[in-house]
Symmetry: D3
Amino acid sequence: MPKFKHIRLLSPVYSDISYRLEDVKDLERDDLKISQTGIPTGVPSVECDFDEALCSPYIVGRAIEAEREGVDAVIVDCMSDPGLAAARESVSIPVFGPRETCMHLAAMLGHSFSFIGIQSRTRPRMERHAKANGLRQHLASVRGVDLSVTDLLHDDGKKLHERIIEESFKAVTEDGAAVILIGCTAFFGCEKIVGKALLEMGYDIPVINPIRTTVSYAASMLDLGLSHSRKTYPFPPEKKRVGYDIPGVVNETV
Amino acid sequence: MPKFKHIRLLSPVYSDISYRLEDVKDLERDDLKISQTGIPTGVPSVECDFDEALCSPYIVGRAIEAEREGVDAVIVDCMSDPGLAAARESVSIPVFGPRETCMHLAAMLGHSFSFIGIQSRTRPRMERHAKANGLRQHLASVRGVDLSVTDLLHDDGKKLHERIIEESFKAVTEDGAAVILIGCTAFFGCEKIVGKALLEMGYDIPVINPIRTTVSYAASMLDLGLSHSRKTYPFPPEKKRVGYDIPGVVNETV
Amino acid sequence: MPKFKHIRLLSPVYSDISYRLEDVKDLERDDLKISQTGIPTGVPSVECDFDEALCSPYIVGRAIEAEREGVDAVIVDCMSDPGLAAARESVSIPVFGPRETCMHLAAMLGHSFSFIGIQSRTRPRMERHAKANGLRQHLASVRGVDLSVTDLLHDDGKKLHERIIEESFKAVTEDGAAVILIGCTAFFGCEKIVGKALLEMGYDIPVINPIRTTVSYAASMLDLGLSHSRKTYPFPPEKKRVGYDIPGVVNETV
Amino acid sequence: MPKFKHIRLLSPVYSDISYRLEDVKDLERDDLKISQTGIPTGVPSVECDFDEALCSPYIVGRAIEAEREGVDAVIVDCMSDPGLAAARESVSIPVFGPRETCMHLAAMLGHSFSFIGIQSRTRPRMERHAKANGLRQHLASVRGVDLSVTDLLHDDGKKLHERIIEESFKAVTEDGAAVILIGCTAFFGCEKIVGKALLEMGYDIPVINPIRTTVSYAASMLDLGLSHSRKTYPFPPEKKRVGYDIPGVVNETV
Amino acid sequence: MPKFKHIRLLSPVYSDISYRLEDVKDLERDDLKISQTGIPTGVPSVECDFDEALCSPYIVGRAIEAEREGVDAVIVDCMSDPGLAAARESVSIPVFGPRETCMHLAAMLGHSFSFIGIQSRTRPRMERHAKANGLRQHLASVRGVDLSVTDLLHDDGKKLHERIIEESFKAVTEDGAAVILIGCTAFFGCEKIVGKALLEMGYDIPVINPIRTTVSYAASMLDLGLSHSRKTYPFPPEKKRVGYDIPGVVNETV
Amino acid sequence: MPKFKHIRLLSPVYSDISYRLEDVKDLERDDLKISQTGIPTGVPSVECDFDEALCSPYIVGRAIEAEREGVDAVIVDCMSDPGLAAARESVSIPVFGPRETCMHLAAMLGHSFSFIGIQSRTRPRMERHAKANGLRQHLASVRGVDLSVTDLLHDDGKKLHERIIEESFKAVTEDGAAVILIGCTAFFGCEKIVGKALLEMGYDIPVINPIRTTVSYAASMLDLGLSHSRKTYPFPPEKKRVGYDIPGVVNETV
């Protein structure tokens, strides 16, 4: 019987997106509990490096809190992996990011993969991260549905699905993608729809749901007792850090 | 409740190594059964490309058999991943190899990793595979305990442990490794001993047991419904294949 | 006067393809004899990794036999280079593979090259091998004529030539190829037809016939006394290998 | 007569380090004014990714303020380049980081370079950034003086200089460095001392002072009218960002 | 007040192109003088490696002369950087090349760049140089206006501008370029026209004028006292060099 | 019977080194004639980029002459490959360089190779060229015997042999080289001595003589009718080239 595990999603937004737990609820089992929390301040969605900067300190704060509460692993609930390295430095429990995790997993499921995200303008950022992970030659393309977040909120999902299928099809037939990586953690449920649509068009291609995949992967790492190397992520040196309402930092003005 | 999964280790040797199941037995649970099989012919251990060539056809055969028996995923039980791509082409269930899996996982656990295997002479092969996976810049070194398989068999483990710890220590302090990847599936149990020894020497470094890790990873992929891309691994075209006692091949002389 | 050399083609198929010697016959001279042999079992053609697995042990066997008979060098007669590393380990004479040889030669004849093979579905495999050889950035594209082997057998060559010319033209004009590498050892004679057709269309592009090129290259290496590094390809350790009708292996059931 | 330029150093620390302007004062001229500002909250020094996370939002804030005040370019005054991409997205004036700038410049001054920074434990971070910039093969080594920041504050510079010279010498003679890149913006003045010491030991090696170099480089880019590509750094989409006391963000609790 | 600097353009052609100084005249100031010289023999323009070979010895000669005359830095005035490494070996003053300089600068201004040069046939050469600098993955494309030099001479600039804008637009919209690098030092003035045209089409993209950029960069390096590593560019060993009318070489027939 | 071939070595020095033909004389046969020529002016040996610049135009001239005289292929007789690309542009016969040829061949003979040349200071140049060929990860090290050319001339070979063996041994045991590439075309005969010495020390390692290897390789390419791609090396555009006493160039002062 595997030991009990509590994994927490750290959503880097102030909006209440507790409904996101639905996407992973069926992964829970007797030995696995999944919780979720947002952050108190920052952004309603992460679309650029500025958004990443605003949420990152609070992601670290939530990771520290989680560790103190006995959570076994945390997952940054966003394809930009905001605060990933900083959080790894700051706690002893493992911290996972769906971008890093899913790029490596995609590279094992096929010889090349494409991101299908919200906006094609994220291409430079994704290419930069693929390079830093040594996986640039596995990245077939980065494509976006190019619908605004607002559009998405007022869509019943139909337009979104149409667009994701359309871009995934182009990724497979024009860019040479062998694996589709859903590029936004908000697109949940899409992976099945896209996978089915591609299959009907004759392409048997794995489609990765980033959050579900990262949760399951994190549970596996916990079962194995594996965490990140302290050599790569040494603890932050002690000193007076101020101005944030997060554990270990003095919440005052200097 | 996750769906029931049956994962099978395909050991690429003719010797009875069913005891290897012990290494992963505690990973079993209500929804996960692990079985093991060897192959009827070939080699008693895999140490070079020739050994790989001799066992690969039978690994494919065992993968096909496993699929027919309703097994949900198979794992090539060897750090050389013999027959991995061929088996992926031949079945619809996912096929995992510990070398590929653990190199990518190691790359996520730290910025660089070292293999500690049986023999240092495998360095060229490991470097070649790291390159093919885009991970050459993550590979700090390949080191071997350089004990013969025979020596290992007559060792009560003490000499082996001493040597693995010694080489792991050098990998961390001289080669810059942030993660240790146990380079032979036969070294089971070692990961804890090495990890503890490094910790006592002041290095908090993850040490990866390849088979346990691959089993847990495979279970996770099954829970997620993910398998390899048919585009990367298309089915073998139909034609008359002969001379092997494996499913789908005519066992006769041409 | 260069020393006498006997080079043997090891065709990885059970069909009688002794006619393949015709393609290289004119390369023979007083000091160079070329022989050919198939293997007794396996596949009629090599189109995927499974086919590679089935023929590889016998390629090693034929290499060992050739060495015992005094042959000076062997060539794996297939663009998949099946059994190449295993054979190099197993004998002291040099073993050449047309894929490895011609990728490097193509990289010297121009800044980028394309494979034109039988099937475009081999793209992932070729990309993987180009990466492992450090030549991914030289690979402009992999294209296939996408005719079945059966079609090819019933073709008088016309359709095949049309398709190779068509795909070569696209490789040069759309993919930026500066060199064409005929991607199948069965396409002999094509290199002249393609080269001439490209020239008529205004492109003075080298077109590489893989087997002829590898034979000539092997003869050159023999004249120079160069063979593969024993450090990269150490001899297989001695142990009981069983179940194959090949030299050095016990042909019995365990 | 070149147009007037105002460049501002954005020091990512709350301590008063206005004395840092001394390091660049002599670069001022009639058409170039250099100012400096710290940030109101965060850390007294940047030594890890957590420190980066804490200062990044305020660096963006300071960049926006600077643009509003008519400053022509800003420089993140730290070898970790905290907030660089986020700041580039957020303003129309160019934003420079000494790490990015000096790695590329070092790659032009010689075939390989070494960082000599405060702590050797930053090696993984520097390797990661070199990779992301395509310059991993130019990076000879990352070395640290391994003195604590506190030690440095109570040192009259002598110990620091000794250690930097020592590590620079090793970088040149053991690691093959052809260029030394001073790895901390706090080490000012060191470049001359190190350069002279190396020359006396027989090595004519450029030694790069990161902040002086970046200021001069920034002035050059301004003279040329060059700024960062809006395609790579598109403006952040408009939405309600909250909780920080920085321009464009609502300073309230959600 | 920065020290006085004299920078000289070394144009690798025998034609009188002293008018080229106009392109950089406005960069002069009290502390910066720019001069120009051609070479006495060789080619009227540099379009291929043969042209490079013919002008390179005289570029080295001009660099030596410049150093003797007290010039502070020289710039090879051509996007092929002819004689760059040889000149660096031969003098103690820094030697800059616009191709090397601008490729690195472009890589900092955006995630990918395209060359727009005279002829698309220079693509292989530019790809080779990008590779050697580690920047191949930053190179989006190489495009040429494909007008002959003669055409260019009889053009009032209109046709040239049309074609550069056209190719730049394709580079941005089809090839993914985030930065345009004008690929010929003869195209001066174009950068503003192209930048404005792209902006009107909705693309805010930096366009680099290679000579102006390199002059300004060189001035910056001089202000900083930085020059090339003697380890990378050691002085040429002394010996009898003959047959050229350049300093340090005996102008006689052997 | 292969067609008759005339291959010419183009030695890039003015000294009479016709004795160099001795090194390759035994490669001649009925269908292969080897001639040699120096150049009338330039340098007595090639040790740096400046030397390369001085000899390159004359190498092109000698290549043009050779083609006019009916020579079938030329080889630049120097490990720096001076003038290689320029000569390829200028003639229709193939032009080979030992550095390019032997780096690719070494990469096929083992997983990593080291250059053992005259001077260790050539390391930066060799690394640059390995990178440009995509073979940087195959390059184990660059080592030099660090004897001056003058020393070499007065040595009876003994000191040179000692030093080459010593450095080769270090390359194999310390740097991980699997193949030794003799780094200077003047070291002829050494390959056998080094190979034998390494074998006696227990290392069965191929040692490549660059000129013999390139001659034999060139003969092979001629037999196959393969030459360099005109797309990669287009003919130089016609224009007035002046000032050199080489074919196609007007030997006058402008």
